[in-house]
Subunit: 421 residues, 2 copies
């Protein structure tokens, strides 16, 4: 056996850092915005182009590329004799927010490809296959819900229950998915998800902690819980010039008062609750017509499930109080409980990081990730790298190249250790 | 001279009521919504189709049809010998709200066409031409500002200053206007507005008064003043899961608190102030991203200019108070002072109504109208007919056919009297 020493590996021997950065910058051109950000929403032509690019790199490297009915991508290295073992998997997503950055999701896919390709090139002695994965529609900014590909993988949603969903322009999800799959017609399609022996997702932190503490790696122990809700408020349209205010059923005034009262009611002196209304659509949307329907979303997060439950009750009460003469619905669209990652995976990330001599800390993720969904069924973990000022979901999202390279090296070493058991 | 007796004309001798109703119902099919309403916004293919239909009716009746650079339509009857006198004009608009009704605007155009055509058919002895007019883009629901065609006519706006405006889908006004004009390529184009001797606009009341008092005609003495503003609030996008609320600059929370505080500050115990936020657009609009920009509109109306001025100051103060860490702009997009109509025109509407034996009252219009803009330069007046429950700008907008016919008869008789001076 020619296993490299597990004692003190060097990052630059484990992966090709220049290739990693070049690929990230090439990928960032697909859906590039004039302001330096990326708009590559799920199931768009840009998403399809990103998939083709990544598949091309993987095939050039001799990896086997496959897809599945929801468009997840699998880029696989199966060493001789290990073909039938359950694989060690790493990946993230290629879709972005409408005004997103170049690293959220993309980094986890390209770092995983770099790790898998490097393990193949370095002829690492593995007893399991290793796979880089790109999960479909993590963001959920175009089609709700997000973490769609990973939810499909753990059997939390079926295509039949989502294919008739519409994006804000009225495009059907099923049609957009069919177009995405048609863009890579030669890929074999895995009809059923296969068991995973272990999974590690690399990601930028999307928060300010690692940068502030001058650390290179965050060893992620879990993810805070999240609930997504959509509130619909229905009133009556009326002419803005003639209808006295006391006679109106104004959905705009009811909805804005709900948002304000919710912000007050969920105010947290410790600033741990994350309460966000990111989408607010008023119809018919004419300046001189009273709005008869408003739909707004709530994104609610906290590390403690009890706080999420109590806050959800508060939301129901406050919305009812502020509805006035309007009707309302509250639809719970997604609920992710706080996640604790697999102890063996977390320890392996920690020891690989420590053996590479990189400064690190343990932490809880503020954002949801595909790994948090996959953890419902498989042993999972994550590794964070710092990003500038904690900014993410924004065109100015950025990170130091040295940190991105270090993170990919940690990933390669972690996958090697997990796949050598 | 064969002038009919001015004493006691009969409505059914003055116009063809069946033709009026048939035309209104035919026109309502263009842009018809499944819910019974009409979506025929300005400068759309539906608007163009409505123009072609009305031009066809006018030409069949032997009226001369012309347009102008902003797409206003003129349907003219000039009796022999009266060709060079300044005309008496009547009209309204063919565009609707996105979820509008079949009568707002359409009634004033078709009633004017019916009046002009009937005066021609009845060989009324006139010393002036009479013209039915359709003014372009009264509603302003697609392209701001509204009352565009009538503002152009009184030289309050030029095409060069509006042609680069975009609709919510990014379509340029100049391009949409060119397409509209291309749909009626054979119409002569009046390059310059011509002086008007007098103007009367017929319209549904769009308020509840005439129906409640069981009256057939509202003799309109004036129009309340109106101001349209657009408020833009700018913050910063952040990731909804990772950014503590105290560190955010959330444009959504700032904007909703402005709307609420404005509704409180402008509360009027007499319920005379009309304060409406009808459009509210939040960007980027993703559920898991803090909004960095919100744009909302204010439609403010009152019969007293001093109240409008004071309320505008209040708006400036409240928006600044509630902006928090966000930046903001307040753009005044349209300001119409309260209008008093021409006394001779008002008296002529009143006497024609009274001589037709129709129950009526004098009133102030709650809604803005093309006639209120044209009154800045020409002697103008209006006649209202009742509508059901005061509902307008809504698919359920409706009126009794008998009232619509009576209103057109009043219009015909008023035009005859004004054109016989």
């Amino acid at each position: 056996m020619t296993t490299p020493s597990p004692g003190k590996p060097r990052a630059d021997a484990l992966i090709d850092g220049e290739r990693l950065i070049t690929r990230l910058r090439t990928l960032a051109r697909i859906g590039a915005r004039a302001d330096g950000g990326v708009n590559r929403q799920a199931l768009t032509p840009e998403d399809a182009a990103a998939r083709k690019l990544v598949v091309g790199w993987a095939q050039e490297a001799g990896l086997a590329a496959e897809t599945d009915p929801i468009g997840n991508l699998y880029l696989r290295h199966a060493p001789a004799g290990a073909e039938n073992a359950e694989p060690i998997v790493s990946g993230s997503h290629l879709d972005s927010q409408p005004a997103g950055g170049w690293l959220d999701g993309a980094y986890g896919v390209i770092a995983a490809l770099e790790a898998v390709q490097s393990l193949k090139e370095n002829r690492a002695a593995l007893s399991r296959p290793v796979e880089a994965v790109a999960w479909t529609n993590e963001e959920g900014s175009r089609f709700i819900p997000g973490v769609m590909g990973s939810s499909f993988y753990v059997d939390r949603l079926s295509i039949s229950e989502i294919e008739d969903k519409l994006d804000p322009d009225g495009v059907r999800l099923g049609d957009a998915l069919a177009e995405l799959l048609a863009a890579t017609p030669d890929l074999p399609v895995r009809e059923q998800p296969r068991p995973i022996a272990g999974l590690v997702e690399a990601h930028i932190e999307q928060g300010p902690i690692l940068e502030a503490e001058r650390l290179t790696i965050g060893v992620v122990e879990g993810v805070q819980g999240m609930r997504w809700m959509e509130i619909t408020v229905r009133g009556r349209t009326d002419h803005a010039g003639t209808t006295p205010l006391r006679q109106r059923r104004d959905a705009m005034l009811a909805a804005t008062s709900m948002v304000q009262a919710l912000a007050d009611a969920l105010d947290d002196p410790d600033d741990i609750i994350r309460f966000t209304v990111g989408r607010f659509i008023a119809r018919p949307g004419a300046p001189n017509t009273v709005a008869d329907e408003v739909t707004f979303t709530i994104d609610l997060r906290h590390p403690d499930e009890h706080v999420l439950e109590r806050s959800t009750e508060t939301i129901g009460r406050v919305v009812a109080e502020k509805a006035g003469d309007c009707d309302f619905d509250i639809a719970l669209q997604e609920a992710l409980k706080p996640v604790r990652f697999d102890e063996r995976i977390v320890e392996t990330v920690a020891s690989a990081t420590s053996d590479l001599g990189l400064p690190a800390r343990r932490m809880v993720s503020g954002a949801g990730h595909d790994a948090a969904v996959l953890a419902q069924r498989y042993p999972c973990g994550m590794a964070f790298v710092p990003c500038h000022k904690g900014i993410s979901h924004h065109p100015s999202e950025n990170a130091d190249e040295a940190d991105l390279i270090a993170g990919a090296a940690v990933l390669a070493e972690t996958l090697r250790r997990l796949a050598s058991d």
